[in-house]
């Protein structure tokens, strides 16, 4: 077994409903979805966020998208216009989950190594041209 970060296995998207943030987690590779489903329990996600999530964590499965959806209740400082947080609407809340460490088989760790991060030679000042030349 080896340790990887969730950022190497999945990409995420989050949003808000009042004081609840949602965190959607999508496996990069369909073959890793069962692993995520087993490892990312509601309890582990709740423990990962600690004091950042005051209420319960609910989990829903979307096997059709190789995805899980979490609802993190009481995590946005009151939510919407009331919240004093920079991220009052939970837009980037899901990126904090990408820090989670997971124990995975060695072959999975080898396959996903470096996934989810920009390559060392990436130059953000250079545009990637559109295929048909936009």
């Amino acid at each position: 077994m080896a340790r990887v970060l969730l950022v190497e296995l999945a990409h995420t998207r989050s949003g808000d409903k009042g004081d609840t943030a949602n965190v959607g987690v999508i496996a990069y590779d369909a073959q890793d979805y069962p692993l995520l489903r087993d490892l990312l329990t509601a309890e582990r996600v709740k423990a990962h966020f600690g004091a950042l999530v005051k209420g319960a964590v609910e989990r829903f499965e979307l096997p059709n998208l190789n995805a899980l959806n979490f609802l993190l209740h009481g995590s946005l400082g009151g939510g919407g216009t009331v919240s004093l947080m920079t991220d009052a609407q939970g837009k980037v809340f899901s990126t904090a989950l990408l820090r989670m460490e997971l124990e995975v088989p060695d072959e999975v760790a080898r396959r996903v190594k470096g996934k989810g991060r920009v390559p060392a030679d990436f130059d953000p000042m250079r545009t990637v041209p559109a295929p048909e030349g936009a």
């Binding site: 998207r13 808000d16 949602n22 950042l52 059709n64 998208l65 939510g79 947080m85 390559p119 990436f122």
Partner: protein, 454 residues
Amino acid sequence: MIRIGSGQGFWGDDLEAPVRQVEGGPLDYLMMDYLAEVTMSIMQKQRSRDPSAGYARDFIPLMERIFPTCVEKGVRIVTNAGGVNPEGCGEALVAVGRRAGVGGRAKVGVVTGDDLMDRLDALLAEGHELRHMETGEPLTSIRDRVESANAYIGATPIVRALEGGADVIVTGRSTDTALTYGPMMHEFGWDPEDHDRVAHGVVAGHINECGAQASGGNALVDWWTVPAMESVGFPIVEASSDGSFVVTKHPGTGGRVSRPVVSEQILYEMGDPSSYITPDVVADFTSIQLEEIGPDRVRVSGIRGSVATDFLKVSIAYSDGYKAVGTLVYAWPDAAAKARGAERILRARLDRLGLVFDEIRTELVGWDSTHGHLAGPPPADLPEVQLRVAVRSRDRASVERFTRELAPLVLTGTPSVTGFAGGRPRAQEIMAYWPALIRKEAVQPHLNVRILEV
């Protein structure tokens, strides 16, 4: 097959996107979503200062640019730009249409009846308690502070406006998704009880409602490989009468429509995916099948729907105190320690002044503002950090005084501080959000569609 393009994902979105959509290729409908929970309260504030305001003002100059092309090409527009004043928006639209030279060649449909503000006391007296959906509290506990109340309405009035020949339809608090599936129901003549087809329309609407977020914008997956975001093509739904559709964008535009990008958008603001509730149907997002069928083409099918509930959601905005946010920047060495030291001094002064706050929140932007304690301890060599202090209070005077306590820290606090050029923070009234449910029969008979000749 009909093409329904997305033109705006929120009020403040890329103003060139709708132009690219109507000029860049074939299109039958352009939907533009301007409303969020926060937006309604902002518009309400604007209308309280100026009775002719209260809608997305950007929409009018935008229409001046695209109205002639839309009329020539037969692109119909469906938008909730009307905000809390669809009638004012409709009248401004007629005036700008005449100025743009489409007088006598276009009709505007104005949908009203979602606004419950004038009927609120009557509704409460009839026994509609409008309890908060999360806390269960009855609305009477904050009734005297309510500033706006709007029911989320579905596709019925949009379909009626299209049947009435409207080329541009302006609604108030229509659901974001109805702006896309309203045209599908109209074009294909779907039976509203055909839940599976309508549910496909809802998913199409959910994909369209955030603009470029479904075509490569803000997509986390391999983001550094997404081409030409400076000329991003907004999503276009190619809808078929059986409900299935293809998500794509105009050829030659930047961005990306792929299975993982569309999946991210599907999960945005998702609750229980098996039960996505709209006024017209409950859609099961766990039944969505996505298939990449070509470059920038994702086919969406297989969606199951079930009968809608007897309720509509109501968006209520109420005055809930005041807040203010201010920032200062601290430089290396020991930037985080200097910022924390300034925070301690500030809190002690606020306390000594006897000010009353419901909350004082401090973040060090550049270290812990988005990940909190998960960011770990600040690195010793952190080059700089921004101290962000936010306060909230029912007492306006306390918030006003706070806005005068930040600047003094420049000369009376910890060293190496800068970044105060923006001046004092501004105290803002908070318009809080109160979600509630109401029985459909209390709203639907009041929905009205007015067709205006340009």
